[in-house]
């Protein structure tokens, strides 16, 4: 794959990268860092991608790994200032939904985001997250219910 093709495929996936990173990191600056790292890592390891058709799922998987790594190294307490910034970044009319999504446990959240927001199929999510399809389904079910309960409470 040429650098130009790689760049084109990254640009085609830009929105997905943004959504996945934001849903996991909840902070635009961290999100930019993670996506940059993921793009560079992907480019360096391009030889391990044998089929361009799977570029997007492959890149998203790398991004998710980078995000998890960032979450591990990030300090546990988020300052009020950062939290407020994160809230301001959300469009005002869906702040409740966004907060509900971001409060989901990470394993559930990543499945919800990939399936509903980015419209990956269950099989694609299996490739990205390396978890059984049954687990994906149960997390989707759990995620939907938790969202419903959370939004009812609001």
């Amino acid at each position: 794959m040429t650098r130009e093709t790689f760049s084109d495929l990254v640009m085609e996936s830009e929105r997905t990268l943004f959504c996945v990173a934001m849903s996991m990191l909840k902070n635009e600056t961290d999100c930019e860092d993670a996506v940059q790292t993921a793009i560079l890592t992907a480019y360096e390891k391009l030889d391990s991608l044998k089929n361009e058709a799977f570029f997007k799922t492959w890149l998203v998987r790398i991004l998710i790994n980078v995000c998890k790594q960032q979450l591990r190294s990030r300090r546990r307490v988020v300052s009020f200032e950062e939290y407020s910034q994160a809230e301001e970044a959300a469009p005002a009319d869906n702040i409740d939904v966004r907060m509900a999504v971001e409060q989901l446990p990470l394993p559930v959240r990543e499945v919800i985001v990939l399936y509903y927001m980015e419209e990956f199929t269950v099989k694609e999510i299996r490739s990205i997250l390396h978890i059984p399809e049954g687990t994906i389904k149960s997390r989707l079910s759990k995620g939907r219910e938790l969202l419903r309960l959370s939004l009812q409470e609001n």
Binding site: L17, T41, D47, K50, N51, R61, R72, V101, H130
Partner: protein
């Protein structure tokens, strides 16, 4: 909440984000992608090294010298990028089966097949083992710190131990265990060196026997409707399992022989029997813990009074937003809950790890008349049908059974309003190779 709302949850990438992506792509000019022209040279060298190991020469010096010259720093992702993304590779690897007699205690959940075991606790630790054909080795082995050869069950095996840096401050290890006769290697990657080496020590690959005639599928009446559903273009992934394999109706007391994915030991066999399915107005027979473990929310208090009786009626207000302007009409809705308890007895026909993760027990809401999932299986109007508790809780809980042992799983499900009429209890499983999907459906309300 509509699915459309979720899709629009995050606005388009910001200008700053877009700028950063563009800058990053510009930087690629100064970075080399993994050089493919080295592959052939490396492959020759590895084959020479392996041949030497099996002969008189010491492979250690050859391999170390060779890899010493070509080593480049790499991150953990080079080993985490999966071959599973490529169906052609899966096909070529399908003749292998890996055997992992030892797996670290913490690894009770994750992803497992004949050719891959992956575990991550989302913290620092992970273990990843997979089968790789020797054609792949040349581009993967690097940073070798130790090479040794050994004999295992009459097979000559060469082991390459590689050190992999992640974020400079933490080291991970990857071990390639190359089986010359089988023409493949087991690749191990983990953060705990000692546990990794224990896993490596006993691990082996086996060539699978040529399978007999494919098992004839038995279809229950639902499969036709479900096929129709798929042909209507309604796939979307969520219900794909039903259309890719066997769907059978099952009766209470009827045995379901399931092949399940047993983490670490490939396919295991269990026999499951739904021994009872009854409607209750109380939580009798269920433990409070079963509700709390299943969800992060205390579902017992949500659905039951302190005396254990079901909170049968409830009201809520729904606001219909006109095109999302949130100025819509508020509607008071009253719901009736129906509560059912099912008992499923599971007997292990072979040893099995992580029984709870091996197969799924859920509820689907299917309308036979329209051959569709009732209300699309979603909850646009708040009505719902779902499993609210299960013996020993959620997917993080584990249970191991020895061959012949039996466990009883009890689940409780809620169906709201008329959803009760369309609810099916579904027991689903897939073998470790993802060849046999098995789905059994039992109508909840007779």
């Amino acid at each position: 909440m509509k699915t459309e709302e979720l899709k629009q949850l995050y606005a388009a990438p910001t200008e700053g984000f877009h700028e950063r992506v563009v800058q990053t792509l510009d930087r690629l000019e100064t970075i080399s992608a993994a050089p493919k022209h080295h592959v052939t040279a490396r492959k020759v060298a590895i084959i020479c090294a392996v041949a030497a190991a099996l002969g008189v020469l010491s492979v250690t010096a050859v391999a170390t010298n060779f890899f010493g010259l070509t080593t480049t720093q790499t991150g953990m992702y080079s080993y985490s990028v999966k071959m599973q993304n490529e169906s052609s590779q899966l096909e070529s690897l399908s003749r292998f089966k890996m055997v992992l007699p030892y797996i670290p205690e913490a690894c009770k959940s994750g992803y497992c097949s004949d050719i891959e075991f992956y575990y991550s606790n989302h913290e620092e630790d992970y273990l990843h083992v997979y089968v790789m054909e020797d054609e792949e080795l040349d581009s993967k082995i690097m940073n070798v710190v130790e090479t040794s050869e050994t004999e295992m069950d009459g097979h000559q095996v060469v082991i390459f131990t590689c050190k992999v840096a992640q974020n400079i401050d933490r080291l991970y290890y990857t071990v390639f265990k190359y089986f010359k006769e089988e023409g493949c290697a087991l690749v191990f990657s983990a953060s705990d060196y000692d546990e990794l080496m224990k896993t490596v020590e006993q691990a082996a690959v086996k060539l699978k026997e040529v399978s007999e005639e494919p098992e004839e599928e038995e279809y229950g009446e639902n499969i036709h409707a479900l096929k129709d559903y798929r042909e209507m273009g309604a796939g979307g992934g969520f219900m794909d399992e039903y259309t890719s394999g066997r769907v059978k109706n099952v009766e209470i007391g009827e045995a379901m022989e399931l092949q399940v994915a047993d983490y670490g030991k490939a396919t295991a066999k269990v026999t499951a029997v739904i021994t009872s399915l009854r409607k209750q107005d109380t939580a009798e027979g269920l433990l409070w813990e079963d509700f709390t473990r299943f969800s992060d929310i205390d579902l017992y208090s949500r659905y039951f009074n302190s005396d254990g009786t079901l909170k049968k009626e409830f009201s809520t207000t729904r606001v219909d937003g006109a095109d999302g302007d949130h100025l819509g009409v508020a509607t008071e809705l009253t719901y009736t809950r129906h509560f059912y308890v099912a008992e499923i007895e599971v007997t292990a026909d072979s040893d099995i790890n992580n029984l709870y993760g091996a197969f799924g027990i859920g509820v689907e809401v299917y309308d036979k008349a329209t051959k569709t999932y009732y209300k699309n299986g979603m909850t646009p109007d708040g009505e719902h049908c779902w499993v609210i508790c299960r013996t020993n809780g959620n997917y993080n809980q584990t249970m191991n059974l020895k061959k012949g042992e039996t466990a009883t799983i009890r689940i409780g499900l809620i169906a709201e309003n008329e959803m009760e009429d369309f609810a099916y209890l579904v027991v689903s499983a897939v073998d470790a190779q993802h060849n046999h999907y098995q789905n059994y459906m039992l109508k909840v309300k007779e």
